[in-house]
């Protein structure tokens, strides 16, 4: 195959995929030099939806920065909330009531299932199968309804606060979540039967888009991309935060390094998230959901603080330097898909156009998070 790309008669042309293109999940632009149907060089060009969240973090007070956290990765905003809450609690030394931490984990994991469901549906749609998306949307809708009942919003959550969460969960939410888990659990084997076992799908995923562990290390890829390359790395285990150490779950790791491995990691993570939620619901303690005496205008002491969480697409971490005032001196957000998509250029060399777009889908990019 590559012999064709190296032949003397080669004639290349440039193809601009995006910024508006159905395969790029948003306003990502990929400048591709094509040799027939093969990709010579693909260069992702970012910045079409850059909103300067980091700069906003330096201009707004700590509390005013909360709404920004829902607008980075709009599909797993809860994990981003969690990161900011954790960061500032670490900085200001706030003790969080245990019930609040459990609620945080439950909502964040529900959010992760929702994100993976949409990722699964949209990925199969990239491959030309439209139906799984509708099934996934159906399940996702139930999660959104549940989360809406406690947080008040469906997508861009601003639910966590320094020192807890702003609204306690009620019995309706708990019974609703249990009912959802009961309904959702048998759906995953059904998806495997309907979608994963499909011969065409296996043909398109197995062996396509190899990303070695070495390449992941080079570009800093995390999340399902890294775990699909055989590296057992998950912030929830490696740098435990919140109440994750008390909960019972496994980290799915696949060694195949191809699109199928990344797809399977996401599918298995949904099962594990179900386990976490069930576990956390069983252990849910009574008590307050907000720490007492958290100052309205937070002024963390001078210092350099860092906090990382496992979002649906990989490690999200925040680093801030505080100068003791009510705004941040420097704010830095490290978002997972920015690193994940960076490896696209190297990994897509010599790939077929259709395989490369299938590979891009397997990285599951969310553009507003990449551009921040």
């Amino acid at each position: 195959m590559s012999s064709l790309a190296q032949s003397h008669l080669r004639e290349t042309f440039e193809l601009n995929i995006g910024p508006q293109h159905p395969a790029t999940h948003g306003v990502l632009r990929i400048k591709v030099v094509m040799d027939g149907e093969y990709i010579d060089r693909a260069e992702p060009i970012l910045g079409y939806i850059h909103r300067m969240h980091e700069k906003m973090g330096e201009n707004r007070t700590w509390n005013q920065f909360w709404p920004n956290m829902g607008r980075l990765d709009y599909l797993s905003a809860m994990a981003y909330n969690h990161c900011y809450a954790g960061l500032m609690e670490r900085a200001a030394g706030i003790e969080v009531p245990e019930r609040a931490e459990y609620i945080r984990v439950i909502t964040a994991e529900l959010n992760r299932i929702q994100s993976h469901l949409l990722g699964f549906g949209a990925y199969i749609m990239d491959l030309g199968g439209f139906t799984p998306l509708m099934y996934a949307m159906d399940e996702r809708e139930q999660i959104l309804d549940l989360l809406e009942s406690v947080t008040g919003s469906r997508l861009t959550y601003c639910y966590f606060r320094f020192g807890g969460v702003y609204n306690d969960i009620d019995d309706d939410f708990i019974t609703g979540t249990r009912a959802f888990l009961k309904r959702f659990r048998p759906q995953i084997p059904m998806y495997h039967k309907l979608v994963t076992g499909n011969a065409i799908l296996m043909d398109r995923l197995i062996g396509v888009g190899p990303v070695s562990a070495e390449m992941c290390r080079k570009y800093g890829a995390t999340g399902p991309v890294l775990r699909g390359s055989g590296v057992n790395y998950d912030i929830r285990r490696n740098e435990p935060y919140s109440v994750y150490p008390e909960l019972d779950f496994d980290i799915p790791v696949y060694k195949e390094c191809d699109s199928m491995a990344r797809y399977m990691v996401r599918m298995d993570e949904m099962v594990q998230s179900c386990r976490i939620i069930e576990n956390a619901l069983n252990k849910l303690p009574e008590g307050p959901v907000m720490a007492e005496k958290v100052p309205k205008a937070l002024k963390p002491p001078n210092g350099d603080y860092h906090y990382a969480v496992e979002a649906a697409r990989g490690t999200f971490s925040m680093r801030t330097v505080s100068d003791g005032t009510n705004t941040s001196y420097r704010m830095r957000l490290r978002s997972p898909t920015y690193s994940n998509v960076s490896l696209f250029e190297e990994a897509s060399r010599g790939m077929l156009l259709s395989d490369a777009l299938a590979f891009l889908g397997s990285l599951d990019p969310v553009i507003p998070e990449m551009d921040r």
Binding site: A23, L127, I200, R204, S354, L357
Partner: protein, 327 residues
């Protein structure tokens, strides 16, 4: 004079039949997709959304035709028409019933294949004339796909011609009379591979009509909308209608060649109703497949044709020749 009136009335009937099918197959597809995907499909315009095709048609017709600046204007304009004409022409040879056939040709089958190739060409012309790289890639893909799948389709058709000894579509149907084991798909006495041969023909007609899992010409995930990316309004509408016309043609041909056309499975009351029943069943299968499977890659598609379908249909051809000679 009589002949002229007969032909004219057939022409009107075909136009009406085609118009109805083109409008309502879209509705069937959307409704089918809806039910496969846990939703309702069109339901607001008219009862059960039955007036949706009219609304769509009106919308498409009232849209402004925008020709891209760097399009090859004559080619761009003629491609949608060129895709529609052979699709309509082909209905002339299809036997809906024993006496319900516009024109009985000796070479009906040959004409089918000749005009079906024009459809593939019009996709290339549309893709080329649009002056868009995505359209061009899609056009090139569609043509190599059509070429690859026409071969096994033709070879399978030759098998049928060898069995029936005729290229007249109505004669082919006549020979499949009586009970359903006389249908070509079950003619195990002529070649034990006949059912698989039917499958080959079915897959080929899926590919020839550019439908999922072989919709390389469109692949909305990669090539935006493929060869009709730059077409709006009725230009797009014609491509869409031609797709359904080709669908009807493909299913009619499969019905005629393999499923006994207008013959009844039990030898009772043969007639056009049986033809329509079988044809619509096949069309429903097409819709079903479309909303179930993801798309193959371009190479997967060519591999399937050159490595499996063509060798297989050749083997079947030889086997049939052997069976005919021996028995």
């Amino acid at each position: 004079m009589n002949e002229l009136i007969r032909l004219l009335s057939y022409m009107i009937c075909i136009a009406a039949f085609l118009g109805l099918n083109l409008a309502y197959l879209g509705w069937v597809e959307r409704k089918g997709a809806g039910h496969i995907q846990r939703r309702t499909g069109p339901k607001d315009v008219g009862p059960y959304g039955l007036l949706q095709p009219l609304a769509d048609g009106l919308k498409l017709m009232s849209k402004q035709l925008i020709v891209p600046a760097n399009a090859d204007r004559p080619l761009y304009m003629c491609a949608p028409i060129l895709t529609m004409v052979p699709a309509v022409l082909l209905f002339v040879a299809i036997p809906f019933g024993e006496h319900l056939v516009p024109r009985e040709f000796n070479f009906g089958l040959l004409m089918m294949f000749a005009f079906a190739s024009v459809g593939g060409m019009s996709i290339l012309i549309g893709g080329w004339g649009s002056g868009n790289k995505y359209s061009l890639i899609a056009g090139a893909r569609a043509v190599s796909q059509n070429v690859a799948y026409e071969i096994p389709m033709l070879i399978t058709a030759i098998t049928i011609v060898m069995i029936t000894g005729s290229m007249d579509l109505n004669e082919i149907v006549r020979q499949q009379g009586g009970f359903f084991w006389n249908w070509n798909v079950f003619r195990l006495d002529k070649s034990i591979l006949m059912p698989v041969s039917f499958l080959v023909f079915f897959i080929c007609s899926l590919a020839e009509t550019n439908r999922t899992p072989f919709d390389m010409g469109e692949c909305e995930g990669e090539l935006v909308a493929g060869y009709h990316t730059e077409y709006g309004g009725m230009g797009f509408g014609l491509f869409m209608m031609a797709e359904y016309a080709n669908l009807v043609i493909g299913c009619s041909l499969t019905t005629v060649l393999f499923l006994g056309g207008w013959q009844c499975p039990f030898g009772l009351f043969p007639g056009p109703h049986w033809f329509l029943l079988k044809m619509y069943f096949l069309i429903w299968c097409f819709v079903w497949i479309r909303w179930t499977y993801p798309r193959t890659t371009f190479w997967g598609l060519l591999n399937l044709s050159w490595k499996y379908l063509i060798p297989f249909s050749l083997v079947n051809l030889l086997l049939t020749a052997l069976f005919i000679k021996v028995f």
